[in-house]
Point group: C2
Chain length 384, copies 2
């Protein structure tokens, strides 16, 4: 018995795609599930994305297979054929239609799948393979992640729950969908409602994360609803889903490549939520803000710079208020003692930058991380 929501099973194995950590993860449901899915908007998306987009179009699926350490992107017709074969092999294993199998991939771009090992590995998975717990599934989809990312929430007072796994530490600035996240629930949710709720929640969670402004070719977020525990009040379901996705989004930001500090940016009193989001992203993506946090350098002027560069005509520097945590740094002036305290605050594991624009009621919250020597080292030799 695994610890997944009712009706779901998971298995992981190692195909030696890159090393000896698990790299094939299979999640399947006893019954057809209602599904909703969002994918990268990249023009260089891979066949895993195009095929899964196609297979999820009817809002029904049975299984998801994730291959990590190889993205199968920019591989031409061979890449398409390989992705089709993987979903067909999984379908044969489970006795379902290939169109009920979703696939996601993450890792290096431009290298073909090692198909011999994938075929062997899938043959080795069968009903007698030990079942995996949620944390094993989260570990199976990791690339340069340093920790597996799982989150759970029960749905109000019902017996049903929402659980999710996610990965993603670099090439992370989701545009519409994001990284790889798989959410499971045993609540019964209608396809339309599931799709609408999931898109709204993804926009407020995964789409609010940026590690490095680079949008992956392979971002995929999927929710499976097995219905095993029957319907749940929609408010309770929404709250549980938001809780799980927020939790995973913050875990992704905190585990950003080389990251030592989680940065949360809150922008309020903007013209509207979109403007707040643009300003918040400008701050959380600024290499100069990120390096200042890394160095615990109380150089708050870089936040002013990042607000200013959005070039939004209704932002007036005379109405802007900038805070770190609860501490105002602009327009009031910090003395040397105040700057020393700010530096101390920046040494914490989590830094909150709060900017009020003083225009109207728009609000946004986004997450990122500091920029460190570690990020440079990790990415200067990822394929080698």
């Amino acid at each position: 018995m695994s610890d997944l929501p009712n009706g779901f099973h998971g298995r992981v194995t190692n195909l030696r795609i890159k090393d000896d950590t698990d790299d094939l993860t299979l999640i399947h449901s006893e019954q057809p599930c209602t599904v909703a899915a969002v994918f990268t908007q990249s023009r260089f998306c891979g066949p895993s994305v195009t095929l899964s987009r196609h297979h999820a179009a009817d809002h029904s699926a049975r299984a998801m297979v994730v291959l990590s350490k190889n993205a199968n992107v920019a591989n031409g017709p061979q890449g398409d054929a390989d992705a089709h074969e993987v979903t067909a092999l999984v379908a044969a294993l489970l006795g379902c239609d290939a169109s009920d199998v979703l696939i996601a991939s993450t890792g290096v771009i431009g290298r073909p799948y090692p198909m011999d090992r994938i075929r062997q590995g899938l043959q080795s998975l069968n009903p007698y393979t030990p079942e995996a717990d949620l944390i094993d599934l989260a570990r199976g989809i990791m690339t340069t992640d340093t920790v597996p990312k799982v989150a759970r929430a029960s749905i109000g007072n019902t017996a049903a729950s929402v659980m999710g796994i996610a990965k993603g530490v670099g090439m992370i600035e989701p545009d519409m969908a994001t990284m790889i996240a798989v959410i499971l629930t045993d609540a019964e949710v209608a396809a339309d409602a599931l799709d609408a709720t999931f898109r709204r929640v993804v926009n407020r969670t995964f789409n609010c994360v940026s590690v490095d402004t680079d949008t992956s070719t392979s971002d995929t977020a999927v929710i499976f609803a097995s219905g095993a525990k029957g319907p749940a009040p929609s408010d309770d379901f929404d709250a549980a889903l938001l809780s799980v996705c927020t939790d995973l989004a913050k875990q992704i930001a905190a585990d950003g490549e080389g990251a030592e500090t989680l940065i949360e940016v809150v922008v309020d009193t903007a013209r509207d939520d979109d403007q707040a989001h643009r300003v918040a992203k400008s701050i959380v993506n600024s290499p100069l803000v990120k390096t200042a946090v890394h160095g615990a350098d109380p150089n708050w002027g870089r936040v002013a710079m990042a607000v200013g560069k959005t070039n939004e005509p209704d932002i007036d520097q005379d109405r802007v208020v900038i805070r770190f945590g609860d501490r105002e740094v602009y327009p009031i002036r910090l003395d040397d003692a105040g700057l020393a305290q700010l530096s101390e605050y920046l040494r914490g594991d989590e830094v909150v930058i709060h900017v009020s624009l003083g225009i109207a009621q728009g609000h946004a919250r986004v997450w990122g991380c500091d920029l460190t020597d570690g990020y440079v080292r990790i990415n200067a030799d990822y394929t080698t």
Copy 2:
């Protein structure tokens, strides 16, 4: 006698704003000059920008004063008053109107000018102070620049020339104007023509540089035309100006904070020049492309990622061609020997990434640099 174009004089001095390198630079002309100027679009721009924008509005000026190591940004009414006083003091020194003096500032944000030292320093400058050469002026405006940046070109077969100085190594992604660049010419150019030509050239040069996506609060580019050598054929003048500004733009990119490699990105066969520019900027700003270049990692898939994330609907990955220098890497496949040669190419001082989109005739060329541990170290403790 300095080596400036006819009719111009320059002087530099050290006010100890930060250290003992020159930090006050004064350039002045014997006669009123025709000027054109472009400035940062930042909503947090400083009084140096707002005042100079005002003083340059009549396309006439006599002098430019640059204070380095302190940006005088986000300093409220005191900052405004200080900027006014500096231009008034320079005007008194030169016997001209304060409205004929432009001012630029660069350095830390949110610290007031040390006005006592600035007043003393300006008093010490007088007609008997030794004149500075172009390279001294370039050195006087440096902050974290490691080398002074100068460029010269003669104008066709005329006796006139164009010379320029520039600074800027971090917080560099000019949006409209850029960093600090001062261009001098002794050709005679009408105000309208000077303004139009300068804006066009700035767009093709300084606005094509990005070190770190962060747009400064203080970016300023100005050209002074003294007219001392009379009119020049406009084609010759345009070519000389483009040559000087291109040279300075590449020097800025190559001296990016922590940079070890100049990256030039050329995008052609785009829908139009704007699309080409967006795609080129996406590549040159990608932290993953920048770190791959730094590590000489032949991970060309990151260029595909950066093209893809622009999410331009008419980009079709089946028509895209990616080259490093003259070497095609996509869609043809490099074997191991090819990847090793690509890695060797990436170890050079200058890397050219060439992307053809296969749509129409749009073209752009931009410059940036690799992302290194040095960038992180420089910016993790800039104010401390």
